[in-house]
């Protein structure tokens, strides 16, 4: 299916917003309160969640890939690419599955995605270090992800509520 101009524009906008949110996130150094590598708000997940519902899994994936590659490029840190890719891909995968379950709201989908994101990052850390030591962080990371996942779920719910009166969601 050829994307319409509107979809293309929306994708580009969302990619830019995801990058801006990832950057903004550094202004709230959650890792100072909880000194564990990998602790963060996961604001970019709001964009993934929105794209998943508004545009579908395919375009959500494209936005996510663009975000990870450009983010690593801007940060000048290609090592971080594996981390963000594995984290973001597992988050998207789980959120695609969870979003098919009718009973779940944005909150559940978001929390599941946040937890999967942390699992993916720990897997990346175990791969690069060749050691299972990073697994030690996972319980705390998962606990924090429930909080941050709920928060991004709340933000997305507000977003969808605000957009309900516009025709953005109708394509």
């Amino acid at each position: 299916m050829k994307p319409t101009t509107k979809q293309l524009t929306l994708c580009a906008l969302l990619t830019a917003m995801a990058l801006a949110l990832s950057y903004l996130e550094n202004l709230f150094p959650l890792s100072l309160a909880i000194p564990i590598p990998g602790v963060k708000l996961g604001l970019a997940n709001i964009v993934t969640l929105f794209a998943l519902y508004a545009l579908g899994p395919g375009q959500a994936l494209l936005i996510l890939l663009a975000r990870c590659f450009l983010g690593a490029l801007f940060a000048g840190n290609m090592n971080a690419l594996l981390f963000s890719l594995l984290g973001a891909l597992s988050a998207l995968g789980v959120m695609i599955l969870l979003s098919r379950l009718r009973g779940l709201s944005l909150y559940g989908v978001s929390a599941g995605g946040a937890a999967a994101h942390n699992c993916g990052q720990i897997a990346a850390a175990m791969l690069t270090l060749g050691n299972s030591a990073p697994l030690y962080y996972l319980p705390v990371l998962l606990a924090v992800s429930l909080l941050t996942g709920g928060l991004t779920g709340l933000a997305s719910a507000c977003l969808f509520r605000g957009l309900r009166s516009t025709n953005l969601m109708k394509g």
Binding site: T4, S31, Y53, L104, S105, G108, T128, N131, L142, R161
Partner: protein, 134 residues
């Protein structure tokens, strides 16, 4: 564009199930890891890129040691029963911020330098569950 089902905006009971699953996974992993602990006395195992380069018994203070890995240098202080990274010239400083580790299974990871300092052995005296609530 096909209209996708619009998401539910209020938390449902099923969301609680997801939360419970994640919490159960976290607690399960935590119990599994913190239960570990063998007869051997508490030992710090230092590895770079997955290869063990040093082993320090923490029965008594062992002073400071310096490790080089990649482009970075870490200074680790070993006290009786604990270890911490005193200083590192890595950009992220996560290893320094991790602070003191004291229990078997705990570790300090410096990703840029690919160094792991992991505590092994030691009695599981405070490794068990402190309290079970709920």
């Amino acid at each position: 564009m096909p209209m996708r089902p619009s998401p539910k905006l209020r938390p449902t009971a099923w969301d609680a199930l997801v939360v419970l699953c994640v919490a159960a996974l976290a607690i399960g992993l935590a119990v599994f890891q913190w239960r570990g602990g063998t007869q051997e006395s508490l030992t710090a195992v230092v590895s770079v890129d997955g290869e063990e380069i040093d082993r320090v018994s923490l029965e008594r203070a062992a002073g400071k040691r310096t490790y080089q890995a990649g482009a970075y240098t870490l200074t680790v202080e070993y006290a009786a029963g604990s270890a911490r990274v005193l200083s590192s010239d890595c950009p992220t400083q996560d290893c320094v911020h991790t602070g003191i580790i004291t229990r078997s299974g705990q570790s300090i990871v410096c990703l840029p330098a690919r160094i792991i300092i992991r505590l092994e052995g030691g009695a599981a005296k405070d490794g068990g569950v402190d309290a079970v609530l709920g």
